[in-house]
Symmetry: D2
Subunit: 338 residues, 4 copies
């Protein structure tokens, strides 16, 4: 349930509502947008929620009994777009931001060199995996902390913030030391222990949709992070599992406008994982921007044929430069920049 | 198997190859692009195909043992884009063409009025259903031939060609009398009797992807039509069935660039059925064009709330005008027009 | 809407209700089970349905506003199991009946020989395809009418009734001449022209679930046939399309008890298509019977390695004999026979 | 790659092969079945694997280059069924074992009382959740350690071993103190940190299939656990996500015989989650046994209407007793006991 206060509500009226929420055994979350305060009630209590009690309180404009699965993530609760700072810009703003880099960090000089090229081509942040979630225990699992160090060196050399995946809740503090954005991957979208740790870290989080998760499952996973008071959450469509085998996953493009409608959080798209074949990545990157994505995450490798993992879906640096120019044109066609 | 002739191959060499194909018990299909002739072998014969026999014949550049599921639909067999004439333009050309109209034809004056407004807003063709495939036998099934007559009157009044669905192979000749393009709907994509009748009609066909059909299933269905010598075939992505329930179907945007890669046929997108909610249709229309779609098919209704069928996914005439302006900008951003 | 009459309702009261239904512009369907009459209202009328009008009529016990998608197929309308006669037994009775045979009819002597062996092993009916729905136009499409003749000869020789697929509405009368049961395949489950033709034929129909059809879609497809007054309809779960590639389809075993709960029609299972690999067919056949299936349809081929189509999922005659013995034991364990 | 030694191979030959494996930079896993030794090579090395080197060594019968995704889980590597001890019986033996209990542990006396009733009805182990994975952060998350204590008390009172879910790798040691079997739930099937912790614990593990995981994904997840030398792993089919909405998930019954074919690990089925509606659970439990499942896991609640979670899919104690009797009859029909 959310209580929307009137624009002219006094501070006293707001604090009265909050006191009432506590007395009823719920937690009150405040959202103050440009003009008014919205108070969300979350948690479970033995006192059933009664909207009429709140309806008649001083300063209250209306009470909405919204879907209880998520609230902090809901646009009803927070009508304005949330802006998440990234490298001097904001994800969720007019500018479409692009995060790019190799699937795995494969060496110190390689990642630094890649970072320079990506920055020059217009990337806002550098991605690269140090801990790799692999379906088979016998596949390459990443360079671990050494990989994180290389990423941090690449950031020092270029100024590009670092986005990297964390899988182990116990390693969240260590990864926070090196990375600017923690990525929670598709396989861990409902790893609730990890979501809690990500929330507690107060670090910026990039949460990817699970491959069999509905749009609402994704928003409820984001709610786990938000419920710790960590508002710097970005979510990402990366393809779902269907019967189609011509592509690695099925890029659920519908999810972009649906998410923009349901949540105020920035919405990214990962066309590399969504399709799995590099020749189709630029077309889908353009499509994601045309559909309203706030950002992109793209796998780029200097030499995709030799990539340790996911080479088939990584584009070359040259392709990336061409793609960026095209993405900019599409962004402008839909009233944005890139 | 396809036999690619050299650019300088003589007519005699080509006819020798064709004769050999017949002698081997296969059917020879010819594709003559700007520079060379490609001969495709289809059908079944007791003589196993032996590429080396053809390899050494005069004028032959190379022999490709391509996937046998479809060949006439394959870009290997016909490298250039196929152009399908529509209202003075061509589907498959630089210009993105838009087919628009109500789900069902609901009355004579309504459809004529709608056609005028759509034409003014930039639509290339008029769609409308006279025979409706409905999951329940108790739902409205369309006005039948009367609906076709109204569509024909709307064409006379506006010059817009008519696109309408046919479900009964026995009614193909009648629908051909009224319509310029026969639509084969998702539920009938593997109705092989209907595909044969559509092929024999030599009418322009708009074939929609079945809701659980793979991309290759769709191309094999197109092959059924093409195998009757009817080359005026357009194919259309319209969403597939997945676990996601926030939208009516899942718009498989990956299919657009994959289809453009595998086939020379024009590729359309139907965002109305792909998502099922009108508020998301314009964003997805733009995305489809950004991804490389040659055309769009959009449900537009003067008063969606009162539509007999599919009102929830129909946009208003005003929304259509706005969408067309946006689609034009995106088309230009990817080097096309609309 | 259905009107349930009291057990002691007089004929006059029943005819009064029927007259009222007609006056309201609807069609009245009667179901007379052992003890009472149930009257179903179907169709569309300008008079909105008003249950209170019927509630107060003489002899009426209650009025149920049931789901309108299907009614004749619903167990609410027809609480008792429907029994469909087959070879002296009834599909839907205590005895689990097995339909078996090759995917395609491949020759006269082959099918007659197979029929003898199948009969001896306990099959109730013979299946075999004369018209084959094939994804590619270049695959073997069946022997057509010649195949039907061979099937009819096999019936004469053995007494086994013949089950065979029809795809073309125009060929329904011809197929009826040869076959005892018309099969409508998965790809044609929503071929409404064919469903109407099947209904009109008044022949026994075996309707298979489409590979992306929900359980309710299947029941609405059955309703198309039933609405022609043809009550001899059997429905069949045969696997749906999912992301799993280890098997040809995913056998939706849930559908068996759900269908038995929602409809009075006999429910069969086709484990051959549902899994696609012969080594798993017997386990799944037993499972289907344990879950409550009324019948099975099994692909059996004297020499699966040499089958023209679907050899990978056909079991041998020896395997069939073993499977029948096992199926009988499971049937008895759940209070049935086989 | 696996090296299969001859039945009469001397210990010296075996140790030579193992030494060679180490010299090549791989890890050697030994499987000694009744008659022969099989040596599996896992891990990654700079020395490419060369089967011919091993082929010619003394005592080697043959070398199989099997799929590298999993090996310890593969039946090729371990042809005999693995037996996992449970309450004096073995999961994977002729006897079908049933694990039963409420979704969540809801109170001390409730769980003890339930355990008594379940034991009497024939359950082999007690299930109950103390830590609940919930899609929304605002849903009941379980009683935590208090719930574990109640479970342990129920075990003391009845002798039934305890099966309970663990989600946090950091809590594995604590859960091991109370529980006999650690359950890894569907949402955590690819939580690799948790899989490693489960492997290290050397505790018995019940690994459930993820809702969008393929059969091979499941076996590779099991391999993560097995690779720590923990061989007491049971796997469980619990339904996958598809387009069908009539049921909670789609019970992939095909997976039972396919898994029995590919792995030596015991295979369980969870019909409660697979269908989500209690009225269908007994039919599906019988089907799973008929298809070859080694065990069942069933949600039972003394008063399902009042269950804190998953009440809709929990059967009553009376239903459980009836179901057990039926399951026993089906087990006997397929040559087993229960």
């Amino acid at each position: 349930m959310i209580v929307v206060m009137r624009e002219d509500a006094r501070a006293k009226s707001i604090s009265d509502v909050i006191a009432r929420v506590k007395a009823d055994g719920y937690i009150a979350h405040l959202s103050e947008d440009k003009q008014r305060t919205i108070i969300g009630l979350v948690g479970e209590s033995e006192t059933p929620l009664d909207d009429s009690t709140y309806q008649i309180m001083d300063g209250v404009e209306r009470v909405d009994k919204i879907k209880v699965g998520y609230m902090l993530a809901s646009r009803n609760f927070h009508p304005d777009d949330s802006l998440v700072p990234l490298n001097g810009s904001h994800m969720g703003s007019k500018k479409v931001l692009v995060i790019a880099g190799p699937c795995s960090v494969e060496g110190r000089s390689e990642i630094i060199e890649a970072a320079h090229a990506l920055k020059e081509a217009g990337a806002t942040a550098l991605r690269g995996g140090a801990f790799k979630p692999r379906t088979s225990p016998y596949s390459f699992q990443g360079f671990g902390e050494k990989g994180l160090q290389w990423l941090a060196e690449a950031r020092e050399a270029t100024g590009l913030p670092v986005v990297t995946e964390v899988m182990d809740p116990g390693l969240v503090p260590m990864v926070c030391e090196y990375a600017d954005v923690l990525q929670i991957g598709a396989r861990n979208m409902q790893n609730f222990t990890l979501l809690h740790a990500a929330g507690e870290s107060q670090h910026t989080i990039l949460l990817k949709r699970g491959m069999s998760s509905t749009i609402d499952d994704l928003l409820m996973a984001a709610e786990y992070i938000l419920s710790h008071g960590n508002r710097r959450v970005m979510i990402c469509e990366r393809g779902i599992r269907t019967f189609e085998t011509a592509t690695r996953n099925t890029f659920d493009l519908n999810a972009i406008p649906v998410l923009k409608n349901r949540t105020h959080l920035p919405v990214l798209a990962d066309p590399s994982h969504a399709v799995g074949y590099r020749e189709y990545v630029p077309a889908l990157a353009k499509a994601a921007v045309a559909a309203g994505a706030d950002g992109l995450i793209i796998e780029v490798h200097p030499n995709p044929e030799k990539a340790i993992s996911d080479g088939r879906q990584s584009i070359t640096m040259d392709d990336f430069r061409t793609m960026m120019a095209q993405v900019r044109m599409v962004a402008e066609a839909v009233g944005r920049t890139a």
